[in-house]
């Protein structure tokens, strides 16, 4: 191998491997693409599939010879080789001898390559034609314009959807959360499976609110599902009313009426709702998770537990009942009986938070946390994945396909302080390699809000390869420190004795932030569906758009998760997965997408 270097001597590297075979492909393209750039080569041998795509760029100002080199170990024959050209024409070659140079000509390619025909996935779900034209509308708001240094947006987490049969006709109906300036919408399912919007004027009044979560549950004891909607968004509210949570009572026929003054509202940037009868007094109580301060990302905020007096009037639980002061940046919560004592315990998590478990002992909660479980958690689903009688927790995290994870071997950290004493908190995101911490953002990005950093070091060269402690010199003290030790989307397996063992979900579900889980309601054994993606990050971090929704299940023998299949046609930022029951008890799965329509799927079982 010959390597030319800039302003240095050229290098020649001798290949010392012995008795190994290879095959070298060169391409003769057409027209201006004479080297066939972009051509894909799939090699099928006894040892499996090998794949490369022809691209010459190898980094800044660096390039290689326009050939593809495949190592075949000791194999002397390639069973077949599939070449797909950039215009999707293809050719198939069989029984190629190793050691020979093969020239492939575009002129010899033909037809149109259909990936779905050639590489068949186990198709567990098929898309269903749009059953509702409703489209979520995200408003134009760029969180980084207000808080320059936050790691990602918090304003694009919607839409969530709540499902229940609100009119008692046996068909599931749904409420989809609206973005800011977009009203939420209640859809009543018709016999033909389509959805018709209902109770429109009631929801239009609150169009100014950004709905962040919704839940149907019986609030007033009349056995009909009522609707609770919580508001949020990362924009500093122009009017506090935009942050209001709303309880709508159902007359049993699907007609809703807003119940004013049902509970003390917190006008903040909230994230989630979960409910249960926590004190066994026969009515539903609810928890509202609070996400973040709209001006000081990272600062742990209070969440709220509301207790029902039986008539759909709710009071905030006292500190003695549950202590939720500065509990964290909550993204997700669930009531589940962790210790099988029949009292619903509360499990909550969020960004820079561990998995926190509030054990319910006859209506009073005691906080515990799973050790070493801090992460950028996005969603939570209680489920007994291993069928051992104890509830486990599926938890969605930021994933592995990220600069924040790849190549790092210590916790991700967030340091918070008003470093320059100008009245605004700055966040400094750091990653750890071999115990040393480095800022994620470059010097110039940090200096945009912290010009004071230039007082010590003016030039990049002075801080290249240096730690955050060095870069911030004597300013680096009296800060608030948050950490994320785990970025893997995970499952916490409950041993029933108060201990949890964390295991990673399959790599296919680590491709992007995982935003929602659902049980696979069609599968015979315990199986689950997950989806995600997140575009609201800085270009430097790079948007996460590569994860496809997937079904997966737990293999009890191997004690690991296996993938059952993916939805290869999916595109967008998944936010919520729910199942709806249709006529004839058919089940339909829906996935909501940020700033997009809802996708519907039918299971192929």
């Amino acid at each position: 191998m010959v390597i030319n270097t800039l302003e240095e001597k050229a290098l020649i590297l001798k290949n010392n491997t012995e008795n190994k075979k290879s095959i070298v492909l060169s391409f003769k393209g057409e027209s201006l693409n004479k080297y066939g750039l972009g051509a894909k080569a799939y090699l099928f041998t006894k040892n499996g599939l090998q794949y490369q795509q022809l691209t010459l760029t190898r980094g800044f100002q660096s390039s290689v010879e326009p050939k593809l080199f495949f190592g075949l170990d000791t194999l002397s024959i390639v069973d077949s080789m599939l070449i797909v050209w950039p215009d999707q024409t293809y050719q198939l070659l069989k029984n190629l001898a190793a050691g020979k140079a093969v020239e492939l000509r575009k002129a010899g390619a033909q037809d149109f390559f259909d990936y779905t025909q050639w590489f068949r996935n186990k198709k567990v779900f098929s898309p269903v034609e749009l059953l509702s034209g409703w489209k979520h509308k995200e408003n134009d708001f760029y969180d980084f314009n207000i808080q320059y240094l936050i790691p990602h947006k918090l304003s694009t987490r919607g839409p969530k959807v709540a499902v229940a049969d609100v009119n008692g006709d046996g068909l599931d109906d749904m409420y989809v959360c609206g973005g800011k300036t977009q009203p939420g919408a209640l859809f009543i399912q018709k016999q033909d499976g389509s959805f018709a919007e209902s109770n429109k004027p009631i929801f239009e009044i609150d169009a100014g609110s950004e709905d962040v979560d919704a839940a149907f549950f019986d609030a007033n004891g009349d056995k009909h599902p009522d609707l609770l909607v919580t508001s949020g968004g990362n924009e500093v509210l122009k009017a506090s009313i935009e942050g209001a949570d709303r309880l709508y009572l159902n007359d049993g026929k699907g007609n809703f009426k807003k119940s004013e003054l049902a509970f003390p509202i917190q006008y903040e940037s909230k994230s989630c709702i979960t409910y249960a009868d926590i004190d066994k007094d026969g009515d539903n109580d609810f928890f509202i998770g609070n996400l973040a301060s709209q001006t000081a990302y990272g600062q742990p905020v209070n969440s709220y537990l509301y207790l029902n007096n039986g008539n759909a009037k709710f009071d905030l639980a006292t500190r003695e009942t549950i202590f939720l002061q500065a509990v964290g940046m909550v993204t997700s919560a669930a009531f589940a009986d962790v210790n099988n004592d029949t009292w619903p315990d509360l499990v909550i998590t969020g960004e820079w938070m561990p998995l926190k478990i509030f054990i319910n002992s006859k209506g009073r909660f005691t906080e515990t946390a799973v050790p070493q479980s801090t992460g950028l958690w996005q969603c939570l689903l209680p489920a007994d994945v291993n069928s051992d009688g104890f509830v486990d927790f599926l938890a969605g995290n930021w994933g592995h396909n990220s600069k924040l994870w790849s190549g790092k071997n210590g916790p991700l950290k967030l340091y918070m302080k008003d470093f320059d004493n100008n009245g605004a908190v700055e966040q400094v995101l750091c990653y750890t390699i071999d115990g040393k911490e480095y800022t994620f953002l470059a010097k110039d990005e940090l200096e945009r809000s912290l010009p004071v950093l230039k007082k010590a070091y003016l030039k990049y060269s002075e801080v290249a390869g240096k730690t955050v402690q060095y870069l911030f010199y004597d300013l680096f003290k009296d800060y608030q420190e948050l950490k994320a030790e785990v970025l893997s989307s995970s499952c916490f397996i409950n041993d029933g004795k108060g201990n949890f063992v964390r295991i990673d979900l399959p790599e296919e579900l680590q491709m992007a932030p995982l935003m929602s889980f659902a049980k696979n309601e069609i599968a015979r054994q315990a199986s689950f569906v997950a989806a995600g993606n997140y575009y609201g990050v800085t270009p430097y971090e790079g948007r996460y758009d590569g994860m496809l929704p997937a079904a997966f299940s737990y293999d009890k023998q191997k004690k690991t998760f296996i993938l059952d299949g993916i939805i290869s046609t999916f595109d967008g930022e998944a936010r919520d997965i729910k199942w709806v029951t249709q006529a004839g008890r058919n089940k339909l799965m829906l996935i909501t997408r940020n700033n997009n329509t809802i996708s519907f799927y039918r299971a192929n079982y």
Binding site: N145, K454, K455
Partner: protein
Amino acid sequence: MKRLITVATVIFAVAGCSEKKEYKNLFNDPFLYSKTVKAYNYVVMGNNLAPIVASRCYTYAAIAAYEVVAIGDSRFQSLAGQIKHLPTVTFPDTAGVNFQFAALLAFCKAGEATTFPEGSMKDQLSILDSIAKESGMSSEMKEASRKLADSVSGQIITWSKGDNYAQTRTAPKYEIKTDVKARWVPTPPQYAQALEPNWNKIRPIVMDSASQFLTPRPPAFNLDNKNSEFYKWVMEVKNAGDSLTDEQKHIAELWDDRGNRSIVEGHVMFTAKKFSPPGHWMNIVGIAAQTGKADFSTTVAAYAKTAIAGFDAFIQCWDEKYRSNLLRPETAINNYLGYSEWRPYLQTPPFPEYTCGHSTVSASAAEALTDIFGDNFAYTDTSELEFGVKNRSFTSFRQAAIENNWARFYGGIHYHGSCIVSNEYGRKVGALVNERLKMKK
């Protein structure tokens, strides 16, 4: 920087063979002050500061020096009170102080507070210290002068911190909305973020508020109607840019003053630095002081007044820029007239077009200088020679300011109509500075 050190060496040589007490003459030299400002000019340029941020650097440093002069020279009076929010400047016993030396030190100290890294003026300070030592200034005098400089510059720095600069570092950024055609968007080749969208929150020195002089609205965005005012504005820029004479190019280059022009050659991208518009005018003050044979105190006063005029002019202009958020000629020509490859002769700076910062500052600075040196004051501008641009001669500061209007227009980065408004409003700001600040008793 090299050149400055060479000059300093010559001074040492002269100082070395002269009598003691030579320091009196050496420090009572307006040219030494100009050289110190110039040294600061290089620091500001090296810091890559935005022109408006640069204007803030010059202003506080120049005021600190001036306040020392006002203590030491009975012909001049303090700006405290004249600048409403500047509290009375107190000072220690001035017995045994050399006021010129103290003024120079105060300039450097206050200048360091707004620039980077810590001790950014240490080279110039050590030159000044060497001159004092070599020319026989007693250590007592040095100490007394230093004490006065530290006291005055300290008070100016404290006062400067109330101007909202720190707060605006984390104020909301400019929002890009591509669906509004008339709205400014980032421009080639850097596509840099909009600079300082909150500069109207900076406390002005003499103006009562950023919006005291409210400019008329720019013409409505309309490129469909060829008779519209806005269409004419845009086409004037394009037509002029397509047929620039050498003289017009020279005018544009003289007033380019792009602090950091990015140059893209293939994969390589680097930045060429020049003094900013306020830096250029600081240089013109030096030229004027030398041409007009101004004494030390008058020179210091001239720098201070011109810097203040520039500072408030920028606030007035930036207030309007982010009110009208008007797109640049380059964007209008590229996106809406179909000439997608058209480029202006100068590089478009990263903020909205209306009004023109350089024209506003130039007009305001010209008013301040006219107040000090008089109208019809002929001079030759040599500022840009070191950046490879030939000198140009002017019959007055106001003529120079008017030429600036054409410079920005020939440069293809401003509509001429906008420059005319800018000049008019810059003059208003400068006139207010002259009216409110009486430096000579």
